[in-house]
């Protein structure tokens, strides 16, 4: 996977975020402020704009551009969290011209690390980390043979993780003020995390 392939994958993810906008806003309305779908679709929309003229860039360059674009478009909670995630991925890929199975694993792991560092959430706090964390762990437990396999494995784990947030008591983010009223609802950030990984895997599958 070259920088341009990575760009294509991010563009496909942007389309998925547009398609999920309403669903994510509705989820966020249950325990938050109903804007998570807007944040994600605006953020990935900004990535789309930023990457538009960018060709022949390294994977690091692509992730750095994505980080800047996302951060300045979104703000909110998701802005710094995903910006940090992308910056971490950019850092870990420094010097690499292409992304193979190992680098793909590094991307997922470093994105999850970045989100954890920036948000200071723990697993079980009912945040996007409850999708990114399981994804990172799942991919570290296996020895993936292809980039596609990395994202498929991550996406599956993230999806399960996101579903499990339904039974968690929120400890971080807006929903943390709801106490037991946060129970029974999935965390919108965890759901969007699973959708991102799923969109990436689907894009790779279609283009493999």
């Amino acid at each position: 996977m070259t920088g341009d392939d990575l760009k294509a994958m991010l563009l496909a993810t942007a389309a998925a975020m547009d398609a999920s906008k309403d669903q994510l806003c509705a989820l966020d309305g249950e325990i938050g402020d109903a804007d998570h779908g807007i944040a994600m679709s605006r953020g990935f929309g900004a990535i789309r704009t930023a990457l538009d003229d960018l060709t022949g860039e390294t994977p690091t360059g692509v992730f750095n551009a994505a980080a800047r674009a996302f951060l300045n478009e979104v703000g909110a909670s998701s802005g710094p969290l995903y910006a940090t995630a992308f910056m971490r991925a950019a850092a870990i890929l420094k010097g690499k011209e292409t992304v193979g199975a190992n680098e793909a694993r590094d991307i997922v792991v470093s994105m999850a690390d970045g989100i954890a560092k920036r948000g200071k959430a723990e697993r079980g706090d009912k945040t996007m980390l409850d999708a990114w964390g399981p994804a990172s762990e799942a991919i570290q437990r296996t020895t993936p043979q292809s980039v596609l396999e990395v994202f498929k494995t991550s996406a599956e784990a993230a999806k399960i993780g996101a579903e499990e947030t339904v039974n968690m008591l929120a400890k971080k983010g807006r929903a943390a003020r709801l106490g037991v009223r946060s129970l029974g609802h999935r965390d919108p950030g965890a759901v969007s995390a699973a959708l991102i990984l799923d969109a990436m895997a689907a894009h790779l599958e279609e283009n493999s």
Binding site: D22, C25, A26, G29, E30, I31, G32, D33, A34, D35, G37, I38, A39, R42, L71, N72, E73, V74, G75, A76, S77, S78, G79, P80, L81, R118, G119, K172, G173, R174, A175, A176, R177, L178, G179, R181
Partner: protein, 335 residues
């Protein structure tokens, strides 16, 4: 059902609003050349004065941008609707107002705001500008008393910003302005109820559902659910429920002074707010306290949400002086 709004496109609502604000209040505020989302007081920043930077998501107008002006905030970073501003406009604010005496960040205690303002603070420090931060945490409904640091900042921002803005205007040092801000925040308590939901310009769908006859008690100013749902009660009972919570937080003694804000969330008529004020003042009198300063109106809104909150700040001589000090902002003034 699609909610009705006078907008052009939801994605442009905040930027177009800021254009409209800049056109209406050019004598008092201006847009920073460094960022269209950084609004700066025309007559605020000056040598020797701590720069006070506030900010947060849009949709709460006149909070935050309406409180920029001489004697209150020097600049405001403006986020998307219900979304913290990114570090960029915050940093632009810092550079506009930094005059060597340091900069104080003040905003409501929300995860998104904390992350973005902290990133901006780190960037400012890399440019050798000293930045302190005071979070507002006045919403008594958002966490128990032993977790005050987890509470949200809501309409009480009004008093806390006012006190800190006056302190900075008096040319207090950064240490002192920070002390005043923390002190004001520790003595400011708010609780609210929502009767009808709000909707975002981009979704034009109700953020939450409030069936006929029901209200949400202790809700957040972004439509976050509160502590419980109840049937809509008479105004006096609603106020009593709020005042009981607030009095439980205030260690005030007979004869102590408070200032009052009866705040509308956006769609509640002044008539209802003043009906509430009648009971608020009765309760304050019954508690043996003295009101010196009452504000009634839409000061911290949640788009078109219906509902109201009551804020009390427990005054001392210093806070009284600071709250009374004149200020002149785009959407608010004293003196």
């Amino acid at each position: 059902m699609k909610t009705k709004k006078i907008i052009n496109h939801g994605d442009n609502a905040v930027d177009e609003m800021l254009e409209g604000i800049a056109l209406a209040h050019a004598d008092l505020i201006r847009v920073s050349a460094a960022s269209p989302r950084a609004i700066v007081a025309q007559h605020g920043p000056r040598t020797g004065k701590v720069g006070l930077v506030i900010g947060g998501g849009s949709g709460h107008e006149p909070t935050f941008v309406g409180f920029v002006g001489k004697g209150l905030a020097d600049a405001c970073a403006v986020g998307n609707v219900f979304a913290s501003p990114p570090p960029d406009p915050i940093l632009a604010c810092v550079k506009e107002v930094s005059r060597g005496a340091g900069v104080l960040f003040m905003y409501g205690n929300y995860a998104g705001d904390v992350m973005n303002f902290d990133m901006a603070a780190e960037m400012a420090e890399m440019e050798n500008i000293e930045v302190r931060t005071v979070l507002t945490t006045d919403d008594v409904a958002s966490a128990p008393k032993n977790e005050i640091e987890n509470r949200r900042g809501v309409a009480g921002n009004f008093f806390v910003f006012k006190a800190a803005g006056a302190a900075a205007d008096e040319l207090m040092s950064l240490d002192e302005v920070e002390r005043v801000a923390r002190h004001a925040n520790s003595r400011t308590f708010t609780m609210g109820v929502a009767l009808n939901p709000c909707s975002l310009p981009q979704t034009q769908r109700w953020n939450f559902d409030l069936p006929e006859g029901e209200m949400e008690v202790g809700m957040g100013i972004h439509g976050e659910p509160g502590v419980k749902r109840e049937e809509v009660k008479p105004a006096d009972e609603i106020v009593d429920e709020i005042m009981d919570q607030i009095f439980a937080e205030i260690p005030a003694r007979q004869g102590d002074s408070v200032a009052v804000l009866v705040n509308g969330m956006g769609a509640t008529p002044l008539m209802e707010l003043y009906i509430m004020n009648r009971r608020v003042q009765a309760r304050i009198g019954d508690a043996g306290l003295v009101t010196s300063g009452t504000w009634v109106g839409n000061y911290c809104t949640s788009l078109e949400m219906a509902g109201a909150s009551v804020t009390l700040i427990h005054l001392d001589d210093e806070l009284q002086r600071l709250i009374d000090r004149p200020c002149q902002c785009a959407m608010f003034r004293v003196g």
